[in-house]
C-alpha cells in the first residue's frame, strides 16, 4: 500500500503548483488556497511551535491529562531560561478525547492551521496509529509517541516517527525475567488489556519464560470496570506472581479485587499502570499503602525520589505547574519535554524538519533515562531496557535490577543513569 503514497517533496511541489493555479485560475487570493510549504513551517528566529494530541477529556483523561501539563511546565521553564538557541518553545496541545476521529482532525489542524514544526508525544496506540500515514506523507517529524507499541519503530515505513516508551515487549520480558530471577519456579500469570498493549506485553513475557512459562493469560476490556472473573481465574490457577499489562485504574482494580477475595499474590506491573501515587489515588490512602507494599513495576525514567532529576522536576512543577500533584505522569511529561529540547539543541542553529529528524537519528541524544537511548538510523525506539522499581514503606524506587532486550534475548544489565547537567536545560 505504501507504493501509492507520494513523497513529501512531490507533495509540496503539488502544493505550490495548486496554490498558483488556485490564485490565477479561480481569481481568489492565494491565502485562501494552500500556501506553498516554506523551508520548514513552525519555526522562526524567536519561536518554534510544536503540537500534540492528548486525551484531556473522555475516559482516558483521568489517567493521562496531567502529562501534557507537565510538558508545558517544563517548556515554560526552558523559555524562562532563554529557550533553545534563543528560541522559545510554543507547545500547542489539542484534546482528542482518546478518539481516533478527533485525533485525525486535531492533527490536521495542528499541521495545516497552526503549522507546527513537529508533533510531540502524541498519546495512545489506536489514536496515533490513525495519523501515522498522514504525518509521514506530509513530512512532519513525529517525535516520541506516548505509547509502548512497537508500531512506532518502523524506520523504513515511517522515517520520521519515533517512540518514547520502552516498548511493551521490553517491559514484559524484563518483568518476567525479574520474576524468574527472584523467585525461580514460581507460577507466573498475566493479566492484560484486550488489545495491542496486552498482546505485545505477553510476547515479551514469553520471550523470557517461553510459551509454557505463563500459567494463565487473562484479559480485561476497558469498557467493563469489573475484573472479578479474571482475578478468580488467576487465583484458581494458583498464580503466585501476576504480571500486569494494565492501565493504572485497572491495576488498582486487580489488586483491590484480589484483596476482596483474601488473595495476596505478588504484582508486577508495566510502567503504564504502575505509578504509586496514582494507584494510591484510586485505592484510597489506607488501603492503597497496605496493598501496594512490595509492588513491583518497570520504569526507565528518573522516577527515583530524592534523585537530581526528580527534585528538579518537583521544583519546576511547583513553579510552573501550580504545584499540581506530582507523580509518574509529571516525570514522564517533563522527560518528553527534555528530550525534545535536547533534539532541538542538537538540530543546529537553524533547525529544519530534516535536521531535527537527523539529530534524533544521530544517536547523540542521551535523554534523562536510567539507560542510554537507543535511537539510531535503524532504530526508532527510545529504550531497549527498563529498571525494576519496588514499593518499600510507601516509597517506590529502583532496586538496582535492570534488564535489556536485544532481539530475542533478555539479559541483566547495569543501569547507566544520565546525570543532570546545566539545570536540565540542554545545550548543543
Amino acid at each position: 500500500m505504501r507504493n501509492h503514497t507520494p513523497t513529501p517533496a512531490a507533495r509540496s511541489r503539488a502544493t505550490r503548483a495548486s496554490a498558483a493555479a488556485c490564485a490565477v485560475g479561480v481569481g481568489l487570493t492565494a491565502a485562501a488556497c494552500s500556501s506553498p510549504a516554506a523551508a520548514s513551517p513552525g519555526i522562526d528566529d524567536e519561536t518554534v511551535k510544536v503540537g500534540s494530541h492528548q486525551p484531556l477529556t473522555g475516559p482516558a483523561a483521568a489517567g493521562f491529562s496531567s502529562i501534557s501539563a507537565a510538558t508545558s511546565a517544563y517548556f515554560e521553564y526552558v523559555n524562562a531560561n532563554g529557550g533553545i538557541h534563543g528560541r522559545t518553545i510554543e507547545y500547542v496541545v489539542k484534546d482528542d478525547g482518546y478518539n481516533p476521529a478527533n485525533t485525525q482532525t486535531v492533527v490536521r489542524e495542528l499541521v495545516q492551521e497552526d503549522e507546527v514544526f513537529a508533533i510531540l508525544g502524541g498519546l495512545g496506540t489506536p489514536t496515533h496509529s490513525s495519523v501515522l500515514d498522514y504525518l509521514d506523507q506530509n513530512g512532519v517529524p513525529d517525535l516520541f509517541v506516548a505509547s509502548g507499541s512497537t508500531t512506532w519503530n518502523q524506520p523504513e515505513e515511517y522515517p520520521s516517527t519515533f517512540g518514547f516508551n520502552a516498548d511493551y515487549v521490553v517491559e514484559g520480558a524484563a518483568l518476567a525475567q525479574y520474576a524468574a530471577d527472584e523467585n525461580p519456579g514460581a507460577v507466573v500469570c498475566v493479566l492484560g488489556q484486550d488489545d495491542d498493549f496486552g498482546e505485545t506485553f505477553l510476547e515479551g513475557v514469553e520471550l523470557a519464560l517461553g510459551a509454557e512459562g505463563v500459567a494463565t493469560y487473562q484479559t480485561y476490556s476497558t469498557s467493563n470496570e469489573d475484573v472479578t472473573a479474571q482475578i478468580g481465574a488467576m487465583k484458581e490457577a494458583g498464580c503466585e506472581i501476576n504480571l500486569l499489562a494494565t492501565i493504572n485504574g485497572f491495576t488498582a482494580m486487580a489488586l483491590g479485587t484480589a484483596a476482596q477475595m483474601g488473595w495476596f499474590p505478588q504484582w508486577y506491573s508495566s510502567s503504564s499502570g504502575g505509578d504509586y501515587p496514582t494507584l494510591v489515588g484510586f485505592l484510597g490512602e489506607d488501603v492503597g499503602s497496605q496493598l501496594l507494599e512490595g509492588f513491583v513495576s518497570a520504569n526507565y525514567l528518573p522516577n527515583s525520589p530524592g534523585g537530581d532529576w526528580y527534585e528538579l522536576f518537583q521544583q519546576i512543577n511547583d513553579e510552573y505547574n501550580d504545584g499540581a500533584p506530582f507523580d509518574g505522569n509529571t516525570v514522564y511529561g517533563m522527560s518528553v519535554g527534555y528530550l525534545f529540547a535536547e533534539a532541538l539543541a542538537q538540530a543546529g542553529e537553524d533547525p529544519t524538519r530534516e535536521s531535527l529528524v537527523e539529530a534524533v537519528e544521530s544517536g547523540e541524544l542521551v535523554g534523562n533515562g536510567i539507560l542510554p537511548l537507543t535511537f539510531g538510523a535503524d532504530d526508532h525506539a527510545a529504550y531497549d531496557g527498563v529498571g525494576i522499581a519496588v514499593v518499600t514503606k510507601g516509597v517506590q524506587d529502583f532496586v538496582g535490577a535492570t534488564y535489556r532486550v536485544d532481539g530475542e534475548t533478555v539479559s541483566a544489565a547495569d543501569a547507566e543513569p544520565v546525570p543532570l547537567e546545566n539545570d536540565g536545560i540542554p545545550t548543543p
Binding site: 483521568a62 491529562s65 484486550d194 484479559t219 472479578t228 478468580g232 477475595m261
Partner: protein, 292 residues
C-alpha cells in the same frame, strides 16, 4: 467447581445492581411511556451529592439517604421542568429529549468535577465469606443483595398492596378512566419519576464502590446493560427486569471468566437478538400487556 461458584455468585451480585437499575427504567416506562436515557446521568448526579455528604459527615447511611432524596428531587425536576412539555403520541420525542438531557448532564458533571475518578470505599469489610471453604461473596456483595431485595419487596408491596400503588397502576394503564375516577394522573406521573430516579440513584451508589470510582461516566455501562435487560424482559415487566438483570450479570461473568472479557458484549448482543427474534416485545411482554 470453585470457579463456577465464584463466577455465578459474582454474576448474581452484579446482576442485582443491573436488575435494580432496569427496574427503575420499567417504573418510568409504565408511568410515563418514556425510556429515560438520562437515568444514569441523573443517578450519577445524585451520587455526587451523596459523596459530598459522606465526605462531610462520614456517615454512609446519610449518604444513602441523600442519594435517594436527591434522586427523587431530580426526578421531579426533570418531569415537571422538562418532560411535561414534550408533546407526542409516540415515545420517540421523549427518548430524544432524554438523550439531549444525558448529554447536558454528563458534560456539566465533567466541567464541574473533571475527569478524575473519586474512589469510594465499600461500607462493609472487603473480606469474603466462605461457604464450605469456597470464598463466595464479599460482605459488600451481600449488602448489595440485601438492599436490592428490600427495594424489590418494598416496591412490590407499594404497587400491589397500597392505594397509591393502585392509583399509579391505574393511571399508567388507563389515564382517561383514572382521571374520571378522581385519580390525579399528572401527580401519579410525577411520583413515578420520583420512585424511578431514586431507585436508579441507589443502584449507582451500590455500583460505584465495586468500580474504579465516581466519574461522570460511572453509570454508562450500567445503563446500557440495564436498558438491554429491560428490553429483554419487556419494558412493562418488573419481573422481567429482575430476572433479566440476574441473567445478564451471570452471563457476563461466565463469559468473561471462561472465555474472554472481549466476548462479553457480544454475548449480551447475541442474547438480546435471540430473545427479540423469538419475542419482539421481550420475554414477559404478552402476559404483562394484558394484566398490567
Amino acid at each position: 467447581m470453585d470457579r463456577l461458584v465464584l463466577l455465578v455468585s459474582t454474576g448474581v451480585a452484579r446482576g442485582l445492581v443491573i436488575a435494580l437499575f432496569a427496574l427503575s427504567l420499567v417504573i418510568i416506562w409504565r408511568a410515563a411511556r418514556i425510556v429515560n436515557f438520562a437515568q444514569a446521568a441523573m443517578a450519577v448526579m445524585a451520587v455526587y451529592v451523596a459523596f459530598a455528604i459522606e465526605a462531610a459527615t462520614g456517615s454512609y447511611l446519610l449518604a444513602l439517604l441523600a442519594a435517594l432524596v436527591t434522586g427523587a428531587l431530580l426526578g421531579v425536576a426533570v418531569e415537571r421542568g422538562l418532560m411535561r412539555h414534550v408533546a407526542g403520541r409516540t415515545p420517540m420525542p421523549g427518548m430524544i429529549v432524554a438523550i439531549g438531557l444525558v448529554m447536558v448532564l454528563q458534560s456539566l458533571l465533567g466541567i464541574l468535577f473533571g475527569a478524575k475518578h473519586r474512589p469510594m470505599t465499600p461500607v462493609l469489610s472487603e473480606s469474603p465469606l466462605y461457604v464450605g471453604g469456597v470464598p463466595v461473596l464479599s460482605r459488600y456483595d451481600l449488602f448489595v443483595l440485601v438492599v436490592a431485595l428490600v427495594v424489590v419487596v418494598g416496591l412490590g408491596l407499594l404497587f400491589n398492596r397500597s392505594t397509591l400503588g393502585l392509583q399509579l397502576r391505574a393511571s399508567a394503564v388507563a389515564p382517561e378512566v383514572s382521571r374520571l375516577l378522581g385519580v390525579r394522573v399528572p401527580r401519579m406521573v410525577t411520583i413515578g419519576w420520583m420512585l424511578s430516579s431514586a431507585v436508579a440513584a441507589l443502584a449507582v451508589l451500590l455500583l460505584v464502590p465495586t468500580e474504579l470510582g465516581l466519574n461522570a461516566h460511572s453509570g454508562d455501562v450500567l445503563f446500557v446493560h440495564a436498558f438491554t435487560v429491560a428490553v429483554l424482559g419487556g419494558l412493562d415487566s418488573p419481573a422481567g427486569a429482575l430476572l433479566g438483570g440476574v441473567v445478564v450479570g451471570v452471563l457476563v461473568s461466565l463469559v468473561t471468566g471462561y472465555a474472554s472479557a472481549g466476548l462479553a458484549p457480544l454475548a449480551v448482543l447475541a442474547l438480546l437478538t435471540t430473545v427479540l427474534l423469538v419475542r419482539p416485545g421481550g420475554i414477559f411482554a404478552a402476559k404483562e400487556a394484558r394484566t398490567a
